[in-house]
């Protein structure tokens, strides 16, 4: 599915060139979950950003090729890359709250992906059911009980003042009346094709009450729900491959178990490839089939999960496994490495 050969990435800093990636070779097969482990600064994330050309301006891919489904995307145009990102490869980032736009509803954010990548399906659906592709931006003011009380109070005030003579109360009265009327009328607007597909993609990630969630803003959801929305967004474009960059680092263990189970289920149902980037060896053991260990911008060991945990070959892998606290009380063996892998 994804094949990376000899990828080299440099960052130009004031202190000189930082070789973040130093010849990374990686193959993710069709329909497998591939784990990429390493510590902070070892180049895990840079690998996936380089492959998708999402590097910041200081970063630069010096050498290497990236093949996606047999297609060389190393020198692909920006236009083609836009189709690939989201259309063929979906990405989940570490912190869902900062990856989601706080001023857009979930509906709008997933809708954006659908408009970009699922144009045909949207049009087909709208023709089939004779509904619009998307409604114009809804006026989303729903009067809560407090607002209603305010509205009634103000309208009474304006009514009373109207009895005397015309004053500023009158326009207020009309504005509120129109707002309430508009909101009332809009409840009967049928769902557009976009709404239907958004709800569909949200229920795919097993979110309870997807219609309600589509209307809400990111901050109204819990961390686990936000991450589910991120997954829904990554899958909305019918991506064949999912890159999950530390998808569970910001979550609790119980929620982490849910999200990992979800990724596994979806991978099996859709027969997708998943590249799981993480620093947690336990997560890898639980989820992945094959795993690569990164250190200082290189892949030092690549093997199936069972082999790597039972019989680690490279000294760094051994050190990493030893550093995990286990049941016993014996002193932890600290790997003799710098705190930062790269540079």
């Amino acid at each position: 599915m994804l094949e990376i050969k000899g990828l080299k990435t440099n960052f130009n800093t004031y202190d000189g060139i930082v070789k973040a990636l130093d010849g990374v070779n990686l193959t993710v097969k069709d329909g497998e979950i591939f784990g990429l482990v390493g510590e902070t600064g070892s180049g895990k994330s840079v690998t996936c950003y380089s492959a998708l050309k999402l590097l910041p301006k200081t970063g630069e891919v010096v050498d290497g090729t990236v093949l996606l489904d047999g297609e060389d995307i190393t020198n692909a145009s920006e236009e083609r890359l836009r189709q690939i990102r989201g259309g063929k490869i979906g990405i989940i980032f570490q912190d869902p709250l900062s990856a989601l736009n706080p001023v857009m509803t979930i509906n709008e954010q997933i809708g954006e992906v659908l408009i970009l990548h699922q144009d045909k399906e949207l049009k087909e659906l709208s023709l089939e059911r004779e509904i619009p592709v998307y409604n114009s931006k809804k006026f989303s003011f729903s009067p809560g009980i407090e607002f209603t009380i305010w509205a009634i109070c103000i309208s009474f005030i304006s009514l009373f003042s109207m009895l005397g003579q015309f004053n500023f109360g009158l326009p207020f009265f009309f504005i509120i009346a129109i707002m309430l009327l508009r909101d009332y009328l809009q409840q009967d607007v049928p769902d557009s094709a976009l709404d239907i597909l958004v709800v569909e993609s949200l229920s795919k990630v097993k979110l309870p009450n997807p219609k309600q969630i589509a209307k809400s803003y990111p901050h109204e959801l819990s961390g686990g729900m936000q991450q589910r929305v991120m997954i829904a967004m990554a899958l909305a474009g019918k991506a064949k491959m999912l890159i999950a960059d530390e998808p569970t680092t910001a979550l609790d263990v119980t929620i982490q178990a849910q999200i990992l189970q979800l990724i596994k289920d979806i991978q099996r149902e859709e027969n997708m490839s998943v590249l799981l980037i993480t620093h947690d060896l336990g997560v890898v053991a639980e989820t992945c089939e094959r795993v690569a260990v990164m250190y200082k911008g290189k892949i030092v060991e690549e093997n199936t999960v069972n082999n790597i945990f039972k019989n680690p070959q490279h000294p760094y892998t051994k050190a990493l496994l030893n550093a995990i606290p286990k049941g016993g009380k014996e002193r932890l063996k600290v790997p003799e490495i710098g705190e930062h892998g790269a540079i």
């Binding site: 407090e146 119980t254 639980e286 606290p325 705190e339």
Partner: protein
């Protein structure tokens, strides 16, 4: 032999009020709801739980950074030389003395260090505040050496250090006034495994060297298992289970503990696991009862979720939205569900 306790927490409660637009209380967030813990001297006491279960509130109440609603913390005579004192009726002078004896290490080291202060000022600040300014420089160097740093780090700023070194500086500062108790609030959650191993080793060394008592708060069960002698599992402001670490890990009693333990990713594949569906229920208790019973039944979506999971070698637990002591209700042998009204 009777055990000697340094802190005895008795029925501690902290309720935060929730106000509506008019300023009247409509609900209570029961952050701590009757916590009883006894912290033994010279041992490491662990507190685990998910986010929002009240771990951090407990820590803040222990330091009296927030005033508890009710309950008391009985201090051992090691703190202020008098026996039988409780935390909530300390005088200002005694509180100052008490805070000298209890050090804190927070989760995010960069947030805990002032970016515009030199390391010598950061580590020396507690000494200056508590008026122990004699031999200040030597004392700061000694503290830094305790945590594996040295004289050459005195005139640097926090941003010049890596995450692990910053956490060392925070530990050095916490040790500045020779505390009896060190409260560690997720000290390693922002660190890599190899750096985490260094910090945990350092903490173990310091405990032996200075005969410290640790209160170790974490959500990482492997770290807790490694560090702690005794352990309390918290859920929604209550302690659901408290036991010695080994006992709790080998023979968990409460269904929530079982689920929490099985949720931790492990190297052994195909172990049977108990899934917890849904998020942590809100700890808010509405004073108006009609509001509280909004979400009690299993939703349609959850039914689908159960169907999807059934027969996959996974047990499951559904969290209740009701605010009950034990929100997990046993339906059959291995299935738990939320309460139906």
């Amino acid at each position: 032999m009777t055990k000697e306790y340094i802190l005895q927490i008795k029925n501690l409660r902290k309720h935060f009020p929730v106000k509506n637009v008019w300023g009247t209380d409509i609900a209570l967030v029961k952050a701590l709801d009757g916590v009883d813990l006894n912290i033994e001297i010279g041992k490491t006491f662990g507190i685990v739980g998910e986010s929002g279960c009240g771990k951090t509130t407990l820590m803040r109440t222990l330091l009296r950074l927030v005033e508890p609603t009710s309950g008391s913390v009985i201090l051992s005579d090691q703190f202020i030389g008098k026996s039988g004192r409780t935390l909530e009726n300390l005088t200002n002078k005694e509180l100052r003395l008490f805070r000298r004896q209890i050090g804190v290490v927070f989760q995010d080291p960069m947030g805990a260090l002032n970016p515009r202060m030199l390391i010598k000022d950061i580590v020396g600040e507690p000494l200056v505040i508590h008026g122990k300014t004699g031999n200040l420089r030597e004392r700061v160097i000694e503290l830094l050496e305790n945590v594996g740093l040295g004289e050459e780090h005195l005139y640097r700023y926090p941003h010049e250090f890596s995450g692990g070194q910053r956490q060392r500086i925070v530990i050095a500062r916490a040790l500045a006034l020779d505390p009896k108790v060190l409260v560690l609030d997720e000290p390693t959650s922002a660190l890599d495994v190899s750096v985490q191993a260094q910090i945990l080793n350092l903490l173990n060394d310091l405990q032996v060297k200075f005969n410290l008592t640790y209160v170790f708060i974490s959500h990482d069960l492997s770290v807790i298992e490694y560090m702690c002698d005794r352990l309390a599992v918290m859920y929604l402001g209550k302690v659901v289970e408290e036991a010695d670490t080994e006992e709790l890990f080998f023979n968990p009693q409460h269904p929530y503990t079982k689920a929490l333990l099985s949720a931790t990713p492990s190297f052994e594949k195909n172990t049977k696991r108990i899934m917890i569906l849904g998020d942590v229920p809100s700890p808010i208790t509405y004073l108006d009862e009609s509001k509280a019973k909004l979400a009690t039944d299993i939703t349609e979506q959850e039914r689908l979720e159960i169907k999807a999971i059934e027969g996959k070698n996974i047990d499951y637990i559904i969290r209740s939205s009701l605010n009950e002591v034990f929100p997990l209700i046993e339906v059959s042998e291995k299935h738990f569900a939320r309460v139906k009204s």
